[in-house]
């Protein structure tokens, strides 16, 4: 039986970013494509967020495990660089999940106007251009005084 593309995508929906376990690799824009050939061979195409992202190896392993758990062994994982990953690839669903988790989602219109994911205030301040992972910077809310991560535009 040949498995359909949408079935594979459903399986891969369980693969989350290891650093931000609420957002799937599809919602993050890391999962670029799923190809199923006529004879059932599957190719999963992914793209790294940052060149040195240490999560890529884990993500590959998680894809591997998720497919094998469903009895799928005939596949390969390909990494492509072009076109380069961008936070524009993040889905609305992904952005909502980030916010719920306490991380401010990327704001491409103005990176100085960031909403606090805790209290919703826009009276916030950049503390550090680099945060806990390569993809985030550190902010502070001047109203509720909580520090928070901001997923920076890339």
């Amino acid at each position: 039986m040949v498995i359909s593309k949408s079935q594979i995508e459903e399986i891969l929906d369980e693969v989350k970013d290891p650093e931000i376990p609420v957002i799937s690799i599809a919602d993050l824009g890391i999962l670029r494509d799923v190809k199923v050939s006529d004879d059932g061979f599957i190719e999963v195409v992914i793209t790294p967020t940052y060149t040195g992202c240490p999560a890529m190896m884990e993500i590959e392993r998680d894809i591997n495990n998720a497919l094998k758990k469903e009895g799928i062994n005939d596949f390969k994982i390909t990494t492509v660089l072009s076109p380069a990953w961008s936070t524009d690839l993040m889905t609305e669903e992904g952005k909502a999940r980030l916010k719920e988790y306490g991380i401010a989602p990327p704001n491409p219109t103005n990176e100085e106007d960031i909403e606090c994911p805790n209290c919703g205030s826009r009276n916030t301040k950049l503390l550090s251009q680099f945060g806990s992972t390569a993809c985030k910077s550190l902010f502070k809310c001047n109203d509720c005084l909580e520090p928070f991560d901001y997923f920076k535009c890339h």
Partner: protein, 251 residues
């Protein structure tokens, strides 16, 4: 190997990324404050990530069944073609910052040009890396301004680093035979083009930072031909120890 020059061209930039990445990694746990400790190591991570992409490609071109690890861990000092700038010691934070700024103002414009390379693989690595270096340049440039236009102490100290590093500024945009052939073949970039943009950026930031531009344009050279300062030997001793002592060992 089909294209020795392309291999050499890629190695030059790969080595710049790896050696500066290793220098910044030395600061892990030793940054001046937590946020900047995280910043330097994050930049290190990006640089090592870029180095890997270049080494992977170079290893394929080599057609000897070698990998990125062979290129990083098993070549000797004279095989490394990084510029002398990136092997300079971290010094104080001002020196780390100014070294980074001199490198970022190169890499940013270098990748911007390399994105138009006739070699698709190089163009895609450049596009990916360019986005990262833009952010690095913003960070290092902001810090040059903050330290230069800061207290008397921070101003004097970064001015001293500017003076010290000035003669290491231009090797990275000096054209050697490898660059020449690469540009002619269409996969390499024009360093002349980069030079202009870079000098403008450096000038603007130094001015805003109230720092004095040193006189003279003498440039220390040698790194691109494999003649290094003694610093590189110590860096490689750290970087390569495990693979040299325990060949083939895996994490």
């Amino acid at each position: 190997m089909q294209d020795q020059n392309k291999f050499n061209y890629i190695i030059q930039q790969a080595d710049n990324c790896l050696i500066l990445g290793q220098r910044l990694a030395e600061l892990c746990g030793h940054g001046p404050v937590l946020e900047q400790d995280i910043a330097t190591t994050n930049i290190s991570l990006d640089l090592i990530g870029q180095a890997r992409l270049f080494y992977q490609y170079a290893a394929e071109l080599q057609e000897e069944g070698k990998t990125e690890d062979d290129l990083a861990y098993l070549r000797d000092a004279w095989d490394f073609k990084n510029v002398l700038l990136v092997e300079q010691p971290n010094g104080d934070f001002g020196k780390t910052i100014f070294r980074q700024f001199l490198y970022d103002t190169f890499s940013c414009y270098f990748y911007e040009e390399l994105m138009k390379s006739s070699d698709e693989r190089l163009a895609s690595i450049a596009a990916k890396s360019h986005k990262e270096t833009l952010y690095h340049m913003k960070w290092s440039g902001d810090w040059v301004i903050r330290l230069g236009d800061g207290t008397e102490e921070s101003h004097n100290r970064i001015q001293q680093s500017v003076n010290e590093l000035w003669s290491y500024k231009d090797e990275i945009i000096s054209v050697n035979a490898v660059d020449q052939e690469a540009e002619k073949a269409g996969y390499g970039v024009s360093l002349e083009l980069i030079k202009e943009k870079r000098n403008e950026k450096i000038k603007a930031v130094l001015e805003e930072a109230t720092l004095t531009t040193p006189e003279g344009d003498y440039a220390h050279k040698g790194g691109k031909e494999g003649t290094h300062s003694e610093h590189l030997g110590f860096i490689l001793a750290d970087l390569q120890f495990l693979q040299r002592a325990y060949p083939g060992n895996e994490w």
